[in-house]
């Protein structure tokens, strides 16, 4: 059963140095507040897993928390590049970042295999591209019935998954709706999980399109109002598109980024 905790305690409980950590949320419900808390707690040597690294990982990478990144698309959506990610990959600043690169379909199926207790997933993908030569977690597999060659990718089973949801009940059952992306698979594939929520309510009224994560598959729930900003939480607040634009300027230079980082580290969660 999930424990309902303070955000700082939740992050301290589930995220340890050297962990493989998946923070998910597909444009919607990105767990920024938890990401900032990981930065504040100065976690080190993390392997970050995420389909779209996005601003949240640009920040965690720039803060020097990560040794490795497993991903499929590293950009600032609708704006351009992730400058901290680029600086780490191109110049090793603030530390070298090893990468394991996949496609979206590959990552989605890797999480699904992890959630299913399977060691690998099969898909039509990667063939003819240059990615298999760079990523050793992409291998051919032959259909035992048709002889057709397809692609296998290993399951993702991160140590920790962190996601943001609209709400939880007092027992720790979590409810999210709108675009729910890969969050269920991320939580079910991980050994531990932290879900930040906009609010804790007495009862989770069923809603169209809602996904429920039962309390018994979640490690900890923490209230983080606005915890997905500058992304959005459907029914609570909109995406702050200007913040994505502004991040381009903040992150472009190491100095301006470092000033931003100092600001985050001063906040008490």
């Amino acid at each position: 059963m999930a424990e309902i905790v303070e955000l700082a305690d939740g992050v301290a409980e589930v995220v340890r140095d050297g962990d493989e950590v998946a923070m998910e949320g597909f444009t919607h419900l990105i767990p920024f507040a938890a990401g900032h808390e990981v930065i504040r707690q100065h976690r080190r040597d993390l392997t970050l897993v995420r389909m779209t690294p996005d601003l949240i990982y640009d920040q965690v990478i720039g803060a020097g928390c990560a040794a490795r990144l497993v991903f499929s698309w590293g950009g600032n959506p609708g704006v351009g590049s992730l400058h901290r990610f680029r600086d780490a990959v191109q110049h090793g600043w603030p530390r070298p970042l090893e990468i394991e690169e996949h496609s979206h379909a590959g990552m989605a199926n890797r999480y699904a295999a992890g959630a299913s207790g399977l060691p690998f997933a099969v898909l039509r993908g990667y063939r003819g591209t240059d990615l298999p030569a760079q990523t050793d977690t992409i291998k051919p597999i032959t259909c035992p019935f048709t002889g057709e060659e397809l692609t296998a990718v290993p399951a993702l089973n991160p140590d920790v998954a962190i996601v943001h949801a609209q709400r939880a009940d007092r027992a720790g059952n979590v409810q999210m709706w709108g675009i729910t992306g890969i969050q269920k698979e991320a939580v079910l594939s991980a050994s531990r999980s932290l879900v930040t929520v906009e609010e804790v309510v007495d009862e989770l009224t069923p809603l169209p399109g809602a996904v429920v994560l039962p309390t018994w598959v979640v490690t900890a729930v923490a209230v983080a109002r606005g915890g997905a900003a500058p992304s959005y939480a459907q029914g609570y607040y909109d995406r702050d598109n200007s913040a994505y634009q502004e991040w381009d300027a903040i992150s472009r230079e190491r100095d301006s980024f470092s000033a931003w980082l100092d600001g985050v580290r001063k906040v008490v969660a």
Partner: protein, 251 residues
């Protein structure tokens, strides 16, 4: 806007892309120009176009241009919101989607695309965003519309990295790799339209936009661009197309 026209080259590109979409079919939409083109089509000649965004929104009917592929307006107006594994497995991979839009930092003469890296993979000059959904869109959509501004820097003789397969090194490669979609149907640029040669699959300039000469397109291409015997002339944007497009992009 170039002299003598009432629209920009990018507007012409969006309009041309929009016209290529067929009413009543399903289209896999990325953010930016593809989303402009698809939403323009839905408001003009293709009201029954089914918009599918990789965030899992099937049949989205946004009343403004979404600002990201996961914009709330998509979920609120969709026929159905599904998970990310489902959109890739049950919808894209299964070959249910007619048109996929792609773009990239580099394109070669066989319609292969690079969105991964400029320079060496292990020692990049410029690290680009990477694959995202593009390789599987390239593999599994029934046809692919590539939309890219044309320049020698981006239309190159040799890609630094093949992220998404067009026709590989030529005929038979898609079949050999088990790709079930038809591959690039055309490349729509700010200058004109390139289509794969039916024989050897090399991209050939088959149309130029109003005010553009074929030589300009050849000049803006990093390989010796083939030009059709008589390249067509793209009809200029209609007043309605421009009006709808501008209301979309300024709202």
């Amino acid at each position: 806007m170039s002299a003598g026209t009432q629209w920009t080259a990018d507007e012409m590109m969006s309009v041309a892309a929009s016209r290529s979409l067929v009413d009543g079919t399903a289209c896999f939409v990325g953010i930016g120009l593809p989303s402009q083109a698809a939403n323009l089509a839905r408001r003009t000649h293709a009201p029954g176009l089914v918009l599918i965004y990789e965030s899992g929104t099937l049949g989205a009917k946004p009343d403004r241009l979404p600002l990201s592929i996961g914009d709330g307006i998509l979920a609120e107006t969709a026929d159905s919101v599904i998970t990310v594994p489902e959109v890739f497995n049950y919808w894209l991979q299964a070959g249910r989607i007619r048109t996929g839009f792609l773009s990239g930092a580099q394109l070669d003469r066989r319609g292969n695309i690079n969105t991964t890296v400029i320079g060496e993979y292990g020692d990049p000059k410029v690290r680009l965003p990477g694959s995202g959904g593009a390789p599987e869109i390239a593999a599994s959509c029934q046809e692919v519309t590539i939309v890219m501004r044309q320049s020698r820097r981006s239309f190159v003789d040799r890609l630094d990295f093949i992220t998404s397969l067009g026709f590989g090194s030529g005929p038979g490669d898609r079949e050999r790799f088990g790709l079930r979609g038809g591959g690039p149907l055309h490349v729509i640029t700010d200058l004109g339209v390139l289509e794969p040669d039916p024989q050897d699959r090399e991209l050939t300039l088959t149309a130029v936009h109003p005010g553009v000469e074929p030589e300009q397109a050849v000049e803006a291409t990093g390989w010796p661009l083939r030009v059709a015997a008589e390249p067509a002339r793209t009809p200029p944007p209609t007043a309605t197309e421009l009006d709808v497009l501008r209301r979309l992009t300024t709202s």
